[in-house]
Symmetry: C2
Subunit: 630 residues, 2 copies
């Protein structure tokens, strides 16, 4: 296959790529992330780039102006490489990973676990990998069973093991003077002898768990001996270069090389997070025996490089919900060479292992009283039930609450504005950032507060239009009207931190999707919010979420506030529980089997409810009796 | 690493090899097999080669004459490559694989199963791999579980499966219109879904089993649907280039690159036999789902590339007796990509899976009356017992009975002399060959007959010396006195077929080792031959073994002849039983666990018995009351 060299500016990064691949693909290979909200369909126009030199095939589109065409602009997702190229990427076409500084992807400690954590059951400590130190008796003429049988006799069980552990076992046992540590893991009901190490290494027994979200990837390092969390890291999911929602990702996966491309992006991100966690805690990759994943069904398919096409085709069938335990190395993830990879089970094409994990960690499945779990992410999931039944539904909310696709959005990491208070008189803005750092941007809980306060102060109206005449804070920006939350003098990035009318529209759509899905699901099972004893709110909001404000903007139903608990990343909490307890893993399987999925996308009722919810808090104020703005 | 080109003549085959490797290694890499009975210790002198050109490092040895040295002869096992070389291999230094024509290795159908077959229990038909045809219901909005769960629901079980079967499952099911065949296998108690194929392929469900002997490798193709044997092939084990017994192989394995070298030789031979069997029966390698091995413990270690060093060091501990089920591909064996490889379990360092298989197929383990199984091979094994106990021992007999290391020896394949009768008056020799072909050489049963007849006619004396004055048949050959069994005019090879005094000595040592081990084992458990109800004789003897003559030469004990059964390759029979019945596989594991191994090599009694048995039939004629020669 003919290859060409594509050089990107101003980065001055070059990559060799096959003829006919898109410029977007070339950029991803070069480690440069271009905006592409529509996932490469040529309709969002976010991926404009300019050809400085060379020959690209540029198909017709309905986005570029004649002026832009004459200046050699093209859409990176459509234009294909036909010769060596020099390509210039305008700032506005870049994905905003770097918005809060260069370190967002490679650093950013995740914030501490939120208060709601640990509501679920405490499971028995039965980590998926355990280490056993063995002081073996030496063989003699009276007792000369094989080396492996001797080991098994001391273990008092006959696990499965692989050839690589056996090949040099004779030397290993003798060099170690018969003192070795066996690492054992449970693999779908079979005990596996994963490795045999010289001496006593029982102290070094670690695992990692991950939540692969459409927008955010979070990983956590856990000491399997005592279930302690050593560290958590998160990064944006760079698959976003191929679209912000799962449907665009699935469409991209169907393109040539699309599936391996998306797969490699997530594997690279996981490896990077593992590498950082391990380095930070002075561990060795060999100390990590097991890795466990949760994520929505599409993300799990892409992680395992399973074709996800049928997820988006009626009748919406995933290839798997229950993934087999495999070796991490099979998909290129670097932990201990024979280390095992587990995925919690999903429920359906649009309610995945993340929801199963959330139901596990909140204990929703074992309460007598009715409860709801609302996981606010790019793909929002709602689970409803108690110890007798579980139903679930999904809502495509978009990435706004994860700080993506909004002008000054960022993840809930150091420097993110997470609380906002606006003085109605002087319009002074008070805010609090995660870690107390200078503000770099706004995370989900910050947007919720800001919008509620702006409504309260009359800065925006119920449709989300900026009404204020305050010329100091309200202005016409490059992309329409915007409100300056933090002036550049106070900001950590040196630029004003703003909320645009487009941002407000994005958040309105997101909250409407979540609220209406919850509401329609309730109606489907013939329940009302009054009958609900508890609502768990999950999502990557940092340490703090103001429930009052979330009700005010119409994201959450207007019921007694004490019924709400904010549980943070409940998916990651559930993943960790399963990592340190086989009992929790078994419970997760029961939950996934028990939970019924209800498809809303084909419901007219859902569409009607969604449209009605495109107001703050709602077109029907009777639904929000406690909410009254000036 | 510096590499040189070594060219072998008269073959004119060249190979690139690293500096300092032996000429023997170079020859093996070039596919040329040189005699090396001592396994590369420089003591047997069988591997003489002549350097025509170039520079080899030739260490001192006690074998070569000054004359030979001056003619540039050296020992291939000691001399190392120091420059490009041209090496001449004299005919007598070649391993005698080609003695019965070019086809011995690549062809030679194994002879039909001998009469004793099938004495053991008939196990339930539960093949290690089975195929199930599924006509799946199509998903709809009411029934949209994942594709894999749908498959499992129709199977009515939840097997383990690998990622490669899942990745394109969505397309496969739809392209096949939901009609597929699942191949299932039992893997140490877990059911595995090995593959999913479009349409109904249940008819094509095959497996292979192998007996890896020190001298001979035998493989059998079996239709798993009906347990029928489709074909059997055998080949010499070319590891013999590194010594004829297991001790020399283990020593070679400890040399640099020795273990992979021995491993590759057996894997290549297995692949070649599989390829031939599959081609002959117009199958595809994808039709072979499982492969099962038996063999002595050293051979199984080398097959799996497990370091065998500790087998020959006191207290004689193998690394494994019970090998895990692995994928055939893990060791480079080509069957269905995810096809599974099983090994029957062994008992100890010197009583291996072949003995377990023999005990299984003869039913020794389930008889009320006492029985013995004597497996006559290069490593001879004896098992003794009944339904209450099993003991075993081993004897290093050498490869003579397998037609190796003797002047005109050959395996029991087409053209081998398997029966001999000598007219005591005229010294005329009558013989019968396998397949009725022109005689090419002599196999084990032929040697037993020939020696018994020569003793009977007074051609040899009880110590094995040629006595006859018949100048037509007895003569001084290149390697001492020899007896011409078939004149070249009648032979298929165009050369006289002879038995030398050295051959007789070889067979005498082999029979003495087997007899004395059996005898000492009996005494160890305080039993006498009189108490034995049944003796099973196993070995690669072809269709026929004259028990009377085997007793006459002192190979077998002198008890009632009706108590003997000749069972042929009982190891391969047991392997086949396990291949077509999980019940037989489980029984084999029980047998191996139950059987006690008794080490004879450290017994003075065994040495004394062996020395006493170095006569025909024995120095103590009271042990052989029925045997009287003229």
């Amino acid at each position: 296959m003919e290859k060409f060299r594509v050089t990107f500016y101003p980065d001055n990064k070059a990559i060799e790529i096959e003829k006919d691949r898109t410029i977007l693909s070339a950029a991803v290979s070069a480690g440069i992330y271009i905006n592409s909200v529509c996932g490469g369909d040529g309709v969002c126009g976010r991926c404009r780039v300019r050809i400085r030199k060379g020959n690209a095939y540029i198909p017709a589109d309905s986005i570029l102006t004649p002026q832009e065409r004459s200046e050699n602009f093209c859409l990176a997702c459509l234009a294909t490489v036909q010769s060596d190229l020099e390509v210039e990427i305008p700032e506005q076409s870049r994905l905003d990973f770097t918005k809060s500084g260069e370190q967002v992807f490679t650093e950013t400690e995740e914030v501490q676990a939120p208060p709601g954590e640990g509501l679920g059951k405490k499971f028995r400590h039965m980590p998926l990998a355990r280490k056993v130190y063995l002081n073996l008796s030496k063989p003699d003429m009276e007792d000369n069973i094989s080396d492996l049988e001797r080991l098994y006799r001391h273990l008092d069980l006959e696990p499965y093991t692989g050839l690589s552990n056996i090949k040099q076992l004779g030397d290993l046992l003798r060099d170690a003077e018969w003192r070795v540590t066996a690492t054992l893991a449970d693999r779908d009901g079979i005990t596996e002898l994963m490795s045999i190490e010289a001496g006593d290494t029982t102290r070094r027994n670690y695992g990692v768990c991950f939540d692969i979200g459409t927008t955010t990837i979070s990983g956590q390092l856990v000491d399997l001996n005592n279930s302690k969390v050593l560290g958590t890291k998160a990064a944006y999911n760079k698959q976003a270069a191929f679209g912000s929602d799962i449907i665009s990702r699935i469409i991209h996966a169907q393109k040539q090389e699309g599936l391996p491309e998306l797969h490699n992006i997530v594997v690279d991100a996981v490896n990077e997070i593992i590498r950082e966690l391990v380095a930070q805690h002075h561990l060795d990759l060999n100390d990590l025996s097991v890795i466990l994943f949760v994520g929505n069904t599409t993300m799990i398919h892409l992680l395992l490089e399973i074709d996800p096409s049928y997820i988006r085709k009626e009748p919406y069938v995933p290839t798997i919900n229950f993934a087999p335990v495999i070796r991490a190395s099979e998909i290129g993830i670097h932990i201990k060479p024979r280390g095992l990879l587990y995925c919690l089970p999903g429920v359906s094409s649009y309610v995945g292992a993340d929801t199963t994990a959330g139901v596990l960690s909140t204990g929703l499945y074992r309460q007598k009283e009715l409860g709801i779990l609302i996981d606010i992410g790019t793909n929002g999931e709602i689970a409803l039930g108690n110890d007798e039944f579980l139903v679930s539904a999904a809502a495509s909310a978009g990435p706004a609450f994860e700080g993506s696709g909004v002008a000054c959005g960022m993840r809930a990491s150091s420097g993110a504005i997470q609380r906002v208070k606006i003085d109605p008189e002087k319009m002074n803005v008070a805010y609090e950032t995660i870690g107390g750092a200078k503000p770099l941007g706004i995370c989900g809980s910050g947007y919720i507060d800001a919008l509620a306060e702006m409504l309260q102060c009359g800065i925006i109206d119920k449709s989300g239009k900026l009404k204020t005449a305050d010329s100091r804070r309200a202005r016409d920006g490059e992309n329409g009207r915007e409100f300056i939350l933090v002036f550049k003098e106070q900001s950590g990035s040196g630029a004003d931190i703003v909320i645009t009318e487009a941002d407000i529209e994005n958040i309105k759509r997101a909250k409407a999707a979540i609220y209406s899905a919850t509401s329609v699901l309730m109606r489907k099972v013939e329940l009302t919010f009054k009958q609900i004893a508890r609502i768990f709110i999950a999502g990557g909001f940092g340490t703090y979420l103001d429930i009052e404000n979330a009700v005010k903007i119409g994201l959450l139903p207007d019921i007694e506030r004490k019924k709400f608990s904010f549980v943070g990343n409940s998916a990651l909490s559930g993943a960790r529980q399963a990592l340190v307890s086989g009992e929790a893993l078994a419970t997760a399987k029961d939950i996934a089997r028990k939970m019924t999925y209800i498809e809303l996308s084909t419901e007219q009722q859902y569409m009607d409810e969604y449209m009605a919810a495109l107001f703050f808090p709602h077109t029907d104020l009777d639904k929000f009796p406690s909410v009254r703005f000036v």
